[in-house]
Amino acid sequence: MSVLVYTENWSGKFKKLSYEIVSFAAAIAKEMGSPVTALSIGHVADDELKSLGKYGANKVLNVQDDRFESLDNKALADAVAKAAESESAKVVIFAHNNEGKAIAPRVSVKLNAGLVTGVTGLPVSVDPFVVRKKVFTGKAFANIQIKTDVKVITFAQNSYEVVETPTDTAIEAFDPQISDGEFNTVVKDTHLITGKVLLTDAEIVVSGGRGMKGPENWGGLEELGELLGAGMACSRPVSDEGWRSHEEHVGQTGKIIAPNLYLAFGISGAIQHLGGVNSSKYIVAINKDPEAPIFEASDYGIVGDAFKVIPQLIEAVKEMKANK
C-alpha cells in the first residue's frame, strides 16, 4: 500500500509546486500510515530526484524514456497506472495543471478509481475518503467522498504549504513497458515563451481592466509588473477589444489563476472575472468607483485614479528594492 505522487519536471528541474505536492502526499500518507512514492518521467538528475526526499518521498520511480517527450496522454496515463499498480497505490496524486488534468481522468479509468479534481487542502477524512474542492468556479465548496478502493485526485496549486520532512529516499529505475503503438501524438512545432513570467506560474500578477482606457496606457503597468517580477493579465473586455492578447485574459472563461498577490487596476470585478482570480492569496483593487464589486473580494483597496496611483507604486517598489 502506498501513496503515489506524479512529479513532472520542467527541463529536468522541479519547482515549488513539485515540493508542495510531495509535502501534500506525505501528509496524506502519514494519516493513512503508508509510504510515499514519487513518479518522475523524463531526464532528471539523481540529485534533483533526491531533493524530493526532503519533503517526504520514501522512494522515487525514475522513468527515463524519450518517447514520453511528446506528452502523449494515452501513453503517459498507461505509465502512471502501471507505476500505481506496481506500488499498490491507494491514492494517486497529480497537480491540477495542464499535465495533471490531461492524465488523471484516464488513469482513474485504468485503475477503476474515483476521481476528484482541484482538491484544496488535506482530506477532510481518509476513511471514508472525503476531500474538499471549489465548485461553481469558486462560488462554493463541496465535500466529496470517493467510494472506490483506489482514489485519484488532482491538487490545486497553493493550497498546501511546503513542509520539510527529511526522509531517506531510494531512487529506482522503472520501465513501464509501453509499446511504440501507444505513442500517437506527434509534435510538429513547439513555441516557448521566453523572457516573460508565465501567468499561470506567477506569484504576483498585475492586471488591467477597461478602466485603463486604452492599450496605449499599459506602459506603467508593464513597468510595475517588471519591477515585481509579475505576470501580466487583463479582464475580458480588454482582450475582446484587442487591447491585450487573449493569452492574458483571466476569468471564468479565460485563465484561472491563484497567485500570492493579484493587483487589479481599473477592473470592476464582474462575477465571471472573480471566478478566475478568487483563489489568489491577496487581492488588491485600484478603482475609481467605490461601489465596484471588486472591493468586496479584495483585501486591500484604493478608491482612486489608477493613473495617479501607478507612478506612486512604481516609486515605492523601487525604494523598497533599493533598501533590501
Binding site: K74, A77, H96, N98, E99, K101, A102, A104, P105, R106, V109, K110, G114, L115, T117, G118, V135, F136, T137, K139, A140, F141, A142, N143, I144, Q145, K147, T148, N184, V186, V187, K188, T190, H191, I193, T200, D201, I204, D240, H246, E247, T253, K255, N260, L261, I271, Q272, G275, A285, F295, S298, D299, Y300, G301, I302, V303, Q312, L313, A316, V317
Partner: protein, 245 residues
C-alpha cells in the same frame, strides 16, 4: 469527418449560488440554464470547421433529464445537425463518461470543454477517451483542418505546440479554440425546432464519487482602504502585513 460536441447544461455564470436541504443539494430555483461556456466555444469552432468544408456532420450530446432540452435546442440553433440526450441525472464524471461512450463510437473528433462551470470536474473528456481506448489531447487552444488532417494546438507550461494525432480523438478545449461564442440567429432558432433530438435510455453505471455537502465561502474580511495620494502605504502593507512583496 463527423464531430461530436459534448454539452454540459450549467447555471448561467451570473447565478447566485444557493443550496437546499442542509446544504446537501444545489438550489435550482429560478436558475437560468446555459451551454457550458467552454462547450459553447467548442461548438463554435466545430461550426467554423464545417463552414470551411470537410465536416459532414456535427452532433451535440448531453447526459441529463428533460429540463436540459432547451440547452440542446440552443446548440441546434447555433448550428449542430442533431442532438442526443441520454436520459439520466448526471451523477458524476465517471457515470457521464460511461453513458457518452455508448453514443460516441461513430465520430472522428469528439470535443469536450476543459471543465464545466458548475462542478469544475475536468474529468469527462479524458475518461471517455480512456473508456473508448482512443487518443486524447488536453488544453487544446486551436484546431485546424488541412486537407482532411487535423492540426491540434495545445498549451503546455511555458508555451504552445502544434500536434498531429490520429483520429478518433477526444480534444479537450479551452479559451482560444474560438474567440466569441456564436449566438443563434432567428433562422437558426426556427430550423432548430425541426432538427432531430434523440432521447436515449441510460446504461447501467454507478457513480464513483458522491457530493456530500456544500458550503458557501466565509465572508471576506472588510477590504482595507488606502488613500489615493498615499499609495506608498499600500506597498508597505503588502510587504510588512501581508508579506507578499
Amino acid at each position: 469527418m463527423k464531430i461530436l460536441v459534448l454539452i454540459s447544461n450549467v447555471p448561467d455564470t451570473t447565478t447566485k449560488i444557493r443550496f437546499t436541504g442542509d446544504n446537501k443539494a444545489f438550489d435550482a430555483t429560478g436558475v437560468q440554464w446555459i451551454i457550458n461556456p467552454w462547450d459553447e466555444l467548442a461548438l463554435t469552432r466545430a461550426m467554423e470547421l464545417k463552414e470551411a468544408g470537410g465536416v459532414e456532420k456535427i452532433t451535440v450530446a448531453n447526459v441529463g433529464a428533460k429540463i436540459t432540452e432547451p440547452t440542446l435546442r440552443k446548440a441546434l440553433a447555433v448550428g449542430a445537425d442533431d442532438a442526443i440526450r441520454i436520459d439520466a441525472e448526471p451523477l458524476d464524471a465517471y457515470f457521464v463518461a460511461t453513458q457518452l461512450a455508448e453514443v460516441a463510437k461513430d465520430y472522428d473528433l469528439i470535443l469536450a470543454g476543459i471543465e464545466a462551470s458548475d462542478y469544475n470536474g475536468a474529468g469527462v473528456g479524458g475518461m471517455l477517451a480512456e473508456m473508448m481506448g482512443i487518443n486524447s489531447v488536453s488544453a487544446v487552444s486551436g484546431i485546424d483542418l488541412e486537407n482532411g488532417e487535423l492540426k491540434i494546438h495545445r498549451d503546455i507550461d511555458g508555451g504552445s505546440q502544434v500536434l498531429t494525432v490520429p483520429t478518433p480523438l477526444v480534444a479537450i478545449v479551452q479559451k482560444g479554440i474560438a474567440i466569441d461564442p456564436r449566438i443563434p440567429a432567428m433562422r437558426g432558432i426556427m430550423m432548430a425546432r425541426k432538427k432531430p433530438l434523440n432521447v436515449v435510455p441510460p446504461v447501467d453505471a454507478e457513480a464513483r464519487t458522491e457530493f456530500l455537502t456544500y458550503e458557501l465561502p466565509a465572508p471576506k474580511a472588510a477590504c482595507k482602504m488606502v488613500d489615493e495620494d498615499n499609495a506608498k502605504e499600500l506597498v508597505r502593507l503588502l510587504r510588512e502585513e501581508a508579506k507578499v512583496l
